[in-house]
Subunit: 138 residues, 2 copies
C-alpha cells in the first residue's frame, strides 16, 4: 500500500485528523462568498500542512502520486479563507476564494455540474472557459 | 474485503458512478437554502438508489455495516432536493432540506463546527440541542 504520509515533523493539529490507512483525508472546497461547493479532492499530511502555511489549497493527486498545487497549470488557485474539520475528524472543509471563478478542469465553476433528472445525469451548469484555452491543446 | 454493493438490478445512472473497491461513494450534504455544508458520509448502490427513490438521504454506515436512514433515531431527516455528481464521477452532492436544522450528532447544525485558528481546532458553532435530548441519555 502506498504511503502518502509526510515524514517531517508535523504540528499537533494534524495529529487530530483521522487519516485513512493510505494517509489521506477528503477535502471539500467551498466558495467562501457564494457557498457553492466547488470540488472534493484528497490531502495527505504534507498537503494539509502546506495549505495552512501558504494559504493556498494544496491537494494530493492520487492518480499522479504527488502534491498538486491547485491552479499550478490553470492559474485557478484557491485562496484559503478558513479550514474546518468535521465531528469525526475525517473530513476537511476549505472555504476558499476561487481564482478565475473556475474550479473544474472542464472549465466549469464547480465539478458538481451534473444533476440527476428522470434517471439521467444531466449537465446543468455551463462551461465558462474552453479547457483548451485553460490548459493548451497540444 | 467487505462487499457493500447492492445485489439487485440497478438503473443505468448508478453504473455511471465510480464506486470504491468497497462499493462506496462519498456523499456531501449541503443545505439547499443556506448553502451550508452539513456533513459528508458514504453511500453504497442501494443507499443511493433508495435516496433517489424515496427523496430522503440514506447513507451506508461503515462502522455499523448497514444502511443508515438519516434521522431514523434523531428525527433529523434530510429531504433531498437535488442529487449531483462530480466530473470524476466519484463524489455525490445532495442538496437537502435539513429537518430540525441539525445535521450533526453533537446537536449542531453542521458537522464542520471546528475551525483552525492559530494552530488549534476551535469549536466555532453552537450546540442547538443537547444530544441527550435528541437521542436519550440511557
Amino acid at each position: 500500500m502506498q504511503d502518502c504520509s509526510d515524514n517531517v515533523e508535523t504540528p499537533d493539529w494534524l495529529d487530530a485528523v483521522r487519516w485513512t490507512p493510505e494517509g489521506l483525508v477528503p477535502a471539500i472546497a467551498q466558495d467562501a462568498e457564494t457557498g457553492d461547493i466547488l470540488m472534493m479532492a484528497w490531502m495527505n499530511r504534507q498537503s494539509l500542512r502546506l495549505t495552512a502555511e501558504e494559504g493556498h489549497a494544496v491537494y494530493w493527486s492520487r492518480s499522479r502520486g504527488k502534491l498538486w498545487r491547485k491552479g499550478e497549470t490553470s492559474g485557478h488557485e484557491q485562496v484559503v479563507r478558513e479550514i474546518r474539520l468535521d465531528c469525526d475528524e475525517d473530513v476537511i472543509l476549505l472555504k476558499v476564494e476561487q481564482k478565475g471563478g473556475i474550479a473544474c478542469h472542464t472549465g466549469r465553476r464547480s465539478c458538481f455540474y451534473r444533476a440527476l433528472k428522470d434517471g439521467q445525469w444531466v449537465r446543468v451548469d455551463p462551461v465558462i472557459k474552453d479547457p483548451d484555452a485553460i490548459y493548451g491543446s497540444n
